[in-house]
Symmetry: C2
Subunit: 326 residues, 2 copies
């Protein structure tokens, strides 16, 4: 009589946890075999978020006629600082109920029948996804620049994600203008102070309060958005809104300067521009960024390839699945 | 009867070739067994420079009662761009007779009875020397910032010198002030435009021409120097010269901003400040740089160690000897 068969664990699941949505992808080897997506619970506690993740994992698995017993590990890309040793998330202010400190890894593992959970930074896993399975595939040395609520970055050097002593990749805090605009980090003149959604929104509100005209807030209202999203900027730019045009050019300039400084120091083969603004504003914005970068490049004859993302909204979840493989 | 004994080649020789001097160090294993130094010939052709190098190599070897027959390889740190495949040097404008292109590796090897010659960038070998045998020994991830005629840099990541596609380490061309002072590279606002000796000298002359007062040019004359060297700045600062004080503070600010941008992106364990200005201006200058860097650091609680060089003038020659070991 043969021993009872144990299910082979061949599936990795990736979870992209954001302040707005939870995106899940289930992968077997290099293949995406199921996806699921839901809005992040905007009220309630961290337990509600963990349950929502659990439901989406189950839903993605069911698309592949699979269950948790076939899952090798679950990777999560989360905002906030990550304690890699415990899977805890610190200061993920955009996720309801996470507060200053939440044991995401441990709590999610309990929710998922003890499956191993690996937690990493949302931008790092997004860049890793694009590097391994998206636009970065042909290269070994890649810089990922992610324009979202803040401006994040990820360094791939020699094919490996660099974490340094835990603080590598803070592209958003390269100095774009010494003594310039105040950044959320407390310093002045960081790239993020010009190109992060939150910082740009503060700038819009302050200019409007001082009497500047713009269609940004109307478009935001029409679209029923609680923030000035990349889609709102895209619409305003189409209408020729002056303030939006100036803000987006300032953002492109800061990002371009940051890219040039990074390139002159590290000499990447390629730079991937991702995140909401990066993905949505498209070719024209990428050209503006490229123009400003070129202006400050040292080796102008050997610029890095400047690429958009290929995986788009799925990149974070795919990268999160890959991060479980170490 | 035994076969004739062949000399064992156990010595590596390093040559630091500069526009001003040629410094040589002979090493057996980790030990410096001989050194020699001469002013770089200021007239004549490239052959005179090659012969001067040859004489200094012989002189350093004679200190150890050795000869070329015991030399495994000779490494040279040279200004200019390096063609690593041939050992040719391109645009080393400060070395007499080198012109646009000079086959330094091949010509020096002929001069040295066919000994293998490896040529690399002067700043890269200087940083490598400090990393392997000087201030950088305890670390794996180190940024070297070299303040000389220009501002050079070297990245050590995971214990290896990073060259990228040949253009990594251009710390001097990180953007310190967008739209700022014109740099020798043609761009504006680079760190080098504020902290490179040549650029600072141009600034002094232009300010003096516009009527600004300074003791810098007198001190230079007294000392019989053909340029405003780091020693001249040091003396002027001691005398409280206003223009020198402003220029050096601008240099410290640009270097500090560049270091902060580099640190926020890469998260080094340590940064070594070397080169003429770095070595000669000492503690006070290092404190100014540190102050400006801290101002723009993202992870302020985890700054890199900011170190001076340990090998001083010998660093380049030691690094050049080590570079032959691959």
């Amino acid at each position: 009589m043969s021993a009872p068969r144990r299910a082979r664990r061949t599936i990795d699941v990736g979870v992209d946890l954001g302040g707005t949505k939870i995106q899940v992808a289930a992968m077997r080897g290099e293949k995406i075999i199921g996806t699921a997506r839901v809005l992040t619970p905007q009220s309630g506690d961290a337990g509600d978020v963990v349950r929502a993740i659990g439901e989406m994992v189950a839903q993605a698995l069911s698309q592949a006629d699979a269950s948790l017993s076939s899952v090798r590990a679950v990777g999560v890309g989360s905002p906030g600082e990550i304690d890699h040793s415990t899977g805890a998330v610190i200061n993920a202010v955009n996720v309801p109920g996470f507060g200053e400190h939440f044991e995401l890894g441990g709590e999610l593992s309990k929710q998922l029948e003890g499956v191993r959970v690996v937690v990493d930074n949302d931008v790092s896993v997004g860049v890793l996804g694009e590097f391994r399975r998206g636009a970065g595939r042909p290269y070994k040395d890649v810089l990922g620049v992610w324009l979202g609520t803040g401006v994040g970055g990820g360094l791939i050097l020699g094919g490996e994600l660099r974490s340094g002593r835990g603080s590598a990749g803070e592209f958003g805090h390269i100095v774009a203008k010494p003594g310039g605009r105040k950044c959320g980090c407390g310093n002045r003149g960081c790239v993020e102070a010009y190109a992060g959604r939150l910082s740009m929104e503060r700038r819009v509100l302050s200019l409007v309060a001082r009497g500047h005209k713009t269609s940004l807030l109307e478009i935001q209202k029409e679209r029923g958005r609680d923030r000035i999203s990349s889609g709102v900027y895209a619409r305003a730019l189409k209408q020729g809104d002056h303030l939006a045009t100036v803000l987006i050019d300032e953002a492109a300039r800061a990002v371009g300067i940051g890219m040039a400084s990074a390139q002159n120091l590290v000499d990447f083969e390629a730079i991937i521009l991702g995140g909401g603004l990066g993905d949505r504003l498209g070719e024209h914005f990428a050209h503006q960024v490229k123009h400003h970068m070129h202006h400050h490049l040292f080796a102008k004859g050997k610029p890095p390839a400047l690429l958009g993302t290929e995986l788009g909204d799925l990149g974070g979840a795919v990268g999160a699945a890959l991060v479980t493989r170490g």
